[in-house]
Structure formats: C-alpha cells, structure tokens
C-alpha cells in the first residue's frame, strides 16, 4: 500500500512537527550487564551465554559496575542529574528472543535525568532537553529464515542469545518543538552529536550499522502555531544518520497528508525501510501495551556515592562542541574549513598530525584534499585509510626539508598506502628525492630555454610570470624530481 504524502513544504505550511528521540546505545563493556559473559560482536551464535543471560531457572543477575559507571558518565556528559538511589525494574512481555520474558530495565527511577545538550544546524543552535538516560539489557537476536526475511512467512526462526544481556543505555529526549522545517536536520544533528559525545567518552563503539547505536523517532504534528501536541508514531529501525533525517521527513509528509485530508494519525509503532525510504505500520499501540513494571527484586538499588559521581564528572573529556571551537581557534581555520573537517570526521587525524609537528594548514591540506579524495574513491572513512597521522607528518617534514616536493609527496602517499613502508622507505625505494645536483638542473634549464626561445625572450623583457611555462618544461624534463623554487631561481638568473 502506498501512502499519500504531502510535500514537505506544504506540510510545514500547515503543521508544526514535534519529535521525541529515543536512542539505544550498546556499551562496550567487556562483560554483559548482569553476568560475566563476553560481549564481543560477531561470535558464533549462542557461544557467549551462561545460566544468567539465558534466563535459566534459578539464575540471578549481578550488576556490572563498569556499565553503571558508563551510564553515569553519559548522564554527566548530557548535563543530567545523577540519581542518588535508583532501582532496576522488570518490563514484562513475551518474546522468544527474551530469555526471561521480561527485560531488566529501569522504569520510574532512571540513573540519569533532566539533562540537555545543544546541536547546531546551519549556524542555528538548538537546545535538546534530555528526559532521562537509563540502564537496561539487550535482548537476543532473532533471524527469520524464509523468503520474506520477516516473522510472517518465515519457514523457521533462529535465536542468538549472544546479544542477550549486553548493557544498553536508553537516552530519551523531551519533546523537541519549534524546529519547524529544520526538524529532520535537528534530529540528525542530535544523533550525530550524541555519537560524538559517546565516542569522546569511549563508552560505546557507536556503530549504527552494527546496531550498537539505534534510534527510534517519535513524531507528531499539530496545527501550525497551535502550541499543542498531536498523536505520535514511533518509527523504529532507524539505523543511520541519514535515515534519521529521512524518516522524520517522511513521517512529516505522511502524517500531514492524513491530517490535511481530515483523517487522523494512528498511535502506532512504524518500521523504517532503508531501501525504499518509507515507514510502514507495525503493531498498533492504541491499547497501550501493559508492561507490568515492578522493581527487580533480585537486585539491590544502585546508589552511586556523590564522591564517585564528582570524580567521574571531573574526569569527563572536553565536550565535542567546545573542543571543536577551541581547535578551530587554535588552528586558525575558517568556519567553512572547520565545517568540512568536522563533516569528514577528520578532527582526530588532523589533531594527531599537528601533534606530530606539522602546521595546521599543511595537516588540513593533506587530509582534506589528497587523502579525503582517496578515501572517497575507495568508499571508506579517513580513519580506515592505511596511513597514520605520524606518516602524514613525516611526509610533510620531507617536503619542508626540500627532499621532496608536493607532487612527489603524492607519489609517496601512493607508496605508503600500498604498504611499501614508511615515507622515507618509499622515497628511497621509488627514487623520488628531488635532484639537488646543480649541474644537472642547470643543464635542464638551458635545454628548456633553448627549446622555448619565445618564452625566454618574454622573460628577458621582464614578463616574469611567463617563467611558469619554463618551470613546467624543466620539471617535465626532470620527471618531477626537482625543487620548483630552485628551478625558478635558476631561470631568472640565466635570463636576467
């Protein structure tokens, strides 16, 4: 069934969107939330399990202290209050990939609450209020085998409990309103900002494609300017930054079409389809599922001491936004340059390259042009290129020492990326050093002057700019292995 859509512009003309974003983050602790099983991704199914995470009769949970610490650090990084005393609660519902048929989660006593963070879209800053961040365990993973790949029509289903019990933090925003046409971009920026914060904290791999960061987008529309909240849908399975934006945009258009036609929005769970770019109806939520929450009697309350919380607060890394502003000032990049650097995810590389002794401009030049191009060609992230910031710094150092020039440097990058060794080794093996033999250079300049009498004449007449053509000829003659600056000097001396 194809949904009727209203264009995004028409939708915004009539309605105000409100969003609530729920992000699940898998923590990168070594062991699970309530048992000692390893959490490594990609292991053989059902090999990282024990009585507790399989929910065997009689087994009991024990809280992972590192997970609590990560939860508190996330809470602090999002400017939250940290509970002095909180409990786990059971969320009861039946599903084959839930070993106990209840999820050990938190209900009305989250570990962190009442926070905020800020995101920037097109130069405008939006403050996102954080309702809560709570701890819970992941479920197992179901695979439905059959032509549909979904539970309906499956020949059979497989369950892998390796994921069951992996620590999760669920971060829930308060309703985000007043973002108007920026709503989809704000949603994306928020998830991106959250990813940066989590990366900076080092608490999660935050790999959306592996499901270690998952986003549910709650969205509703209200008549423009009414200041009310409409009926919301909850779109699940939104697992990339781009999809967060697209899904929000799609739901705005879909809901607007319904409301504009005098119909109503059904309160329901919807599924996002990455391939087709649409959401489809999941189960209806109108009869409000009853999870029969109650405090988990097998666990004692979590009561982090204020001293511990303050210790963790003091040790927090610099927030990504502040760090960015500081680096931009230190590096002297323009707003545009910095935006490109951020978009390319090149901050860590540039930071380390500078730390290895390169100037900010040179570091940016290599990472944002030469290496960004190569990463783009190969369809990988900058960080995935087989070249280190230290190697980039070494190549620039060779340029600065006059041993190679920029053009040769590109060939050095080729060698390094091809695994031929360190920049010095590549220079040596490929014979890329610039020719510093004055005699050879002088002969090459003489040849170029002889071959281009008209150009030589112009230079003699004082048209120094024409030297470029002769420099090009010399460089060609020397197969690039010459210092262009020195070549220029020689030409001007000889034609003075």
């Amino acid at each position: 069934m194809t949904e009727t859509l209203l264009s995004f512009e028409d939708a915004l003309a009539q309605f105000d969107p409100a969003m609530g974003l729920e992000v699940h983050v898998e923590l990168n602790t070594n062991t699970k939330m309530f048992c000692g099983c390893p959490t490594e991704f990609g292991a053989e199914p059902n090999t990282q399990v024990c009585p507790t995470c399989l929910g065997l009769p009689g087994s009991m949970p024990v809280v992972n202290r590192t997970a609590v610490e990560s939860a508190i650090r996330i809470g602090l990084a999002l400017n939250c209050q940290i509970a002095e005393w909180c409990r786990f609660a059971r969320k009861n519902y039946f599903y084959p990939d839930m070993p106990k048929n209840f999820q050990t989660s938190q209900y009305d006593e989250p570990i962190a609450f009442d926070g905020w963070t800020e995101v920037e879209v097109d130069g405008e800053t939006f403050r996102i209020e954080i309702e809560r961040a709570h701890m819970e365990e992941d479920t197992g993973k179901s695979t439905h085998v059959g032509t549909t790949g979904r539970i309906h029509g499956a020949d059979y289903s497989l369950v892998d409990y390796n994921r069951a019990g992996i620590p999760l933090i669920e971060i829930v925003t308060k309703p985000i309103t007043g973002t108007r046409e920026q709503a989809p971009a704000v949603a994306r920026a928020y998830v991106a900002a959250l990813r940066d914060i989590l990366l900076g904290l080092g608490v999660s791999d935050v790999r959306m494609e592996q499901g270690s960061l998952r986003c549910d987008v709650n969205l509703s529309l209200a008549p423009a300017g009414s200041g009310t909240l409409g009926t919301r849908t909850e779109t699940k399975n939104v697992n990339s930054l781009r999809s967060v934006e697209r899904a929000a945009r799609y739901e705005i258009s879909r809901q607007a079409a319904l409301l504009a036609a005098g119909s109503t929005v059904t309160q329901e769970t919807r599924h996002w389809h990455e391939d087709t770019g649409v959401t489809t109806s999941g189960r209806e939520k109108s009869d409000a599922e009853d999870y029969r929450y109650f405090p988990e009697p097998d666990l004692v309350p979590v009561a982090p001491s204020r001293e511990w919380v303050e210790e963790l607060r003091a040790a927090l890394p610099e927030p990504p936004r502040e760090k960015r502003a500081r680096l931009q000032a230190e590096w002297g990049y323009s707003d545009l340059e910095m935006r490109d650097v951020v978009a390319a995810g090149a901050i860590p590389q540039i930071e380390e390259t500078i730390a290895a002794g390169t100037t900010a401009q040179a570091a940016r030049k290599w990472w944002m042009s030469e290496l960004a191009r190569r990463a783009n060609e190969q369809g990988v992230e900058l960080a995935e290129l087989p070249v280190t910031p230290a190697q980039v710094a070494a190549i620039q150092a060779l340029v600065d020492a006059g041993e190679i020039n920029d053009k040769l440097a590109r060939q050095v990058f080729d060698g390094v990326l091809a695994g031929e060794g360190s920049p010095e080794e590549v220079v040596k093996a490929r014979g890329l050093a610039v020719v510093s033999d004055e005699g050879a250079l002088s002969e090459a300049v003489d040849r170029a002057i002889a071959a281009n009498p008209d150009v030589a004449e112009k230079i003699r007449d004082g048209k120094v700019a024409a030297a470029g053509a002769l420099i090009g000829a010399v460089m060609k003659d020397m197969r690039g292995q010459a210092d262009a600056g020195r070549v220029r000097e020689l030409i001007l001396e000889k034609l003075a």
């Binding site: 009585p51 399989l54 929910g55 065997l56 009769p57 009689g58 087994s59 009991m60 949970p61 024990v62 809280v63 059971r90 009861n92 039946f94 084959p96 070993p99 106990k100 048929n101 209840f102 289903s157 369950v159 409000a288 009853d290 029969r292 929450y293 109650f294 009697p297 097998d298 666990l299 004692v300």
Partner: protein, 503 residues
C-alpha cells in the same frame, strides 16, 4: 534403625569415631528410602549412584585426614527447587519434567564443598506454591505420622523425609512458611534464616523478595550445623548479606543447657485465638510456661499489622511469581507441547499450549492474580498497597523487638489435615501460613521446633521463634533450650514416637 534415628550431629560423631562409614550410612538411608518411599513419596528423584560415590570420596578424605566440614560424610536430601547440575530439577512441575540444570545452586555447591552426599531431590508443591505438597504435579507426599494426612508444604518432601528417617538432613525453602509449617506438622525442626543470609543463586524463584533456603532437620543443633555450611555471602546473589553469620552452633549448644535467664520472650497476641486449634494453643502455652521456668522473661506484644500480612503476601508473592514463571515458554528448556490440530503452529501458539499443559491450577491461579495485581491502573491499589503493609509489618517487628529478644507463636494454626481436605478451598489452604508469613515479609529469621502432640489428634504441633534480622543465633539458643526441656519431659525426641510407615 538405630543408626537412622540419630541426629546428624550424632552421625558425625560416629563417623569421627570410626564406628561407621559414609558409604554405610548413605547406603542405610538409600535402603530406608527404598523401603518406605513408595508409601510416602517424599522423593522425586533418588541419586543412589551419585550419593554413594560422594560417600566413598568422603570416606577417602577421612582416611587421609582431609575433612571438608564437621558434616563431611553425612548425607542430605535437597528440595527439588534448587538447581543441581546433572540431576533433574523439576520444582514439582510438569513444565520442567526432564530438565537437568547445567549448574549447581550455591547452596548445593556448598553442600558438595562441605562433603555431604546428596541422596536426591524432595517433593514439593509445584513451584513451592502450597501448604500441603498436594500441588506437586508428581503426586502428593504423605505425612509419616499419618499417611492419610499432608506433610505440610511446600517443602513436605524434605520434612517427611526427615520425619521418616529417609535422610538425616534436608534443605527446604521458605517463601511464606514452606520450611516451618511442614516442620510443625511433621515434628521436625525447620529454619528460615534471615533474608539474604543464604544465597538464592540457583533457587528457582517463586517470590524473590521472600524466598529463603534453610535447614530441615531432626534437632536444633543439626539445623545450626547445616546453616553454617550453607550460609554466608555469595557474590552471585546481590541480595545476599556481605557479613559473617553469627555463631549458630555455639548458640545451639548454649541453649541446650536449658538456661534462658535474662532472655526476653514476646508472645505475639495477634497469632493465636480464632482459627487456632485448641491442642495447638495448649502445647504452645505449655512451651511458653517451660521457657518461663527456664528463666526467660515472657511479655505479651502486639503486632497489629500482622492481620493484613496474608492479604499483602497474596499480592506480592503472585506478582513476583507471575513474572518469574514467564520464562517457561518452551523455547529453551523443559516441556514443549504442540497445540492440537494446529498445522505449523507459531511460537506464541506453542507457548500457550505448553503453559496450559505444563502448569497446574494453583500455579495458574497465582499467575493470574499476579498479572492482575501488576496491571497498569491496579498496581497502586494492589502491589503498591501491599508494599506499604509490608513496611508496617517491619515496623511492628521493630517495635516488638524493642520489648523482646525473640517473638514466639504457634508455627501453624492446626495440625496436619487430611489429604484432599482443603484442596478445593484455596483460602483455607492459604490460612495455614498466617503465622509464618510476617517473617518473610519483614525478612526476619524464624524457626519451628516440635512442641509435642496435640491431645485431640495425637499429631505434632510446632512452636515458632522469630528473631531480628541477622540475629539468627537467638533462634538456635531459644529453640535448643525448648527442645532440651521438652525432650527431658518426653524421654527422647518427638520423632522417636513416629509410627512405623505402612501403606
């Protein structure tokens, strides 16, 4: 029979003196089980081979002088609600028929580490839900005092096994009285330790905030010896108390002198009167008089909230149970039933058919009660209110323990009733636990000690002693004193009067 009528402490002495061996002892109990258990059905599973192997290992340790504990070599029976690696663990339910856990409960691991051969697993009401062991999916256990009567519940199997000398020691679990009430109606000793005093890891939970494993024995000293083996902190159970147990065996030995000078004993006025059998009250009053003679100062204490304990219990317990039992869904272990006449059934249909076939009526009743009590819109009125009552009960205990070192009451309002008598009247069945439930709600420890036989029916009566949390030693001191004074009157233990078991 002489060996079988001895207490575990006496058996340990015989082993130490070289007058018997663990293998001989274990074989004697296995023979006794073979002889009488067809009539009693105290055991769901007997592990003769395993027990004898553990006994032989114990004898070898003794020969080498490397004993693991004072009870090394004394065999024991374990309630079927505790996970035993390699041995079936059914909880008295069809839904777990054939399930063999891959791990040991901490209590079981500690028994093994202390060198006690495990004879087998004892019968119980399904998932410990009941006061008569009639709700076992594998058939009821009979009371050795009168095989037409119930042995109490849910741990009727462990209590009957002790009373009939099928084992010298047993483990029970007590959520609302499942150790103490069977103790009372079978003339045995049963202890519910302080909540958190014994690890619950591997105890298949009925109600996590109430459950506690404990000793079921012939004597108070035996219970103290066993308690010291199984008790103490366990990092696998977050609710277990991280501090050492008080000196329990020492307290039992001190109490056995019969001197209670300076001990203040509070008689709980709410736990007597209406609903209590006259013979039960008579034996209770006589016991209180004996304790007074032994030097104790007896006062009357009132715990007004106790009258609401049963109601609160029947909201909290089923709420927790409904959630605990959700895991039995035919997906990973235990029973799997395919629905009749459904081609290609879905997971949900298999779950439904399995739970319908695998759970008994009492279990279903409590799942429904608990699911209802936790439902949105009812939570505050039921579960929330019940938790408030629980707080009030704890406060009543605090106030009472300000006036008395221990509190006492009859353990159960009546002696053992006839099998089938209350099966169709759940409320009458629930009332059996009226005196034992407050201790579970407050987490305080309690013991049931035999107080004699009721004159009107000649059946055992239990005397309950309750102490403040962490003061389990007081139970043993007062319990051992009462036991010593009564046995002096009886000229031996009450269990020496158990009739020979016949069909």
């Amino acid at each position: 029979m002489s060996l079988l009528s001895k207490t575990a402490a006496e058996l340990a002495d015989l082993l130490a003196a070289g007058e018997t061996t663990s293998v001989a002892l274990t074989q004697a109990y296995l023979d006794r089980i073979a002889e009488v258990d067809t009539h009693l059905h105290a055991f769901l599973h007997v592990d003769a081979e395993g027990a004898l192997a553990q006994a032989a290992a114990s004898d070898a340790r003794r020969a080498a002088g490397e004993l693991l504990s004072p009870l090394d070599g004394v065999p024991i029976a374990v309630k079927d609600v505790l996970a035993t690696s390699g041995l079936p663990t059914t909880c008295g339910s069809k839904i777990l028929e054939g399930w063999i856990p891959p791990y040991d409960a901490t209590v079981v691991a500690r028994l093994k580490a202390a060198g006690l051969p495990i004879l087998g697993k004892t019968n119980m009401d399904e998932f410990a839900m009941g006061s008569s062991t009639e709700h076992s999916a594998y058939g009821p256990t009979r009371n050795p005092w009168d095989t037409d009567r119930i042995p109490g519940g849910s741990g009727g199997g462990s209590a009957a096994a002790i009373a009939a000398s099928e084992a010298p020691l047993a483990i029970g679990t007590d959520t609302g009285g499942s150790i103490r009430q069977p103790g009372a109606v079978t003339g045995t000793v049963g202890v519910k330790p302080t909540y958190g005093g014994i690890s619950r890891y591997g105890l298949v939970a009925m109600a996590n905030s109430l459950d506690q494993a404990g000793p079921v024995t012939r004597s108070v000293l035996d219970a103290a010896l066993l308690h010291e083996v199984i008790g103490g902190h366990d990092p696998k159970d977050s609710t277990s108390i991280d501090q050492p147990l008080p000196a329990l065996v020492a307290a039992a030995r001190q109490g056995a002198s019969g001197d209670l000078t300076g001990v203040r004993i509070g008689v709980i006025s709410e736990l007597r009167g209406e609903g209590y059998q006259p013979g039960v009250e008579q034996r209770f009053d006589e016991a209180v008089a004996l304790l007074t003679q032994a030097g104790a100062e007896v006062v009357e204490v009132s715990c007004p909230s106790f009258t609401h304990a049963l109601a609160a219990y029947y909201l909290i317990m089923p709420s927790e149970a409904s959630s605990n039992l959700a895991r039995f869904d035919a997906m990973r272990y235990g029973l799997r039933v395919l629905p009749d006449g459904v081609a290609d059934p879905s997971a949900e249909e298999v779950m439904r058919a399995t739970r319908d076939a695998g759970f008994g009526d009492e279990v279903k009743r409590r799942i429904i009660l608990g699911t209802y009590a936790l439902s949105s819109g009812y939570y505050d009125a039921y579960y929330g209110q019940a938790q408030k009552v629980r707080t009030l009960i704890s406060r009543d205990f605090e106030a009472a323990f300000a006036k008395a070192d221990v509190l006492v009451s009859p353990t159960a309002p009546t002696t053992a009733f006839k099998i089938g008598e209350k099966l169709d009247d759940p409320l009458a069945m629930y009332l059996n636990d009226v005196a034992t439930i407050p201790a579970n709600l407050a987490g305080v420890p309690g013991i049931s000690v035999p107080a004699g036989l009721a004159p009107e029916d000649g059946l055992p009566v239990g005397f309950q002693v309750l102490a403040p949390a962490l003061a389990d030693d007081r139970l043993y001191r007062v319990g051992a004193a009462l036991e010593a004074l009564l046995e002096k009157q009886w000229g031996g233990s009450l269990l020496s009067q158990v009739p020979e078991v016949t069909a």
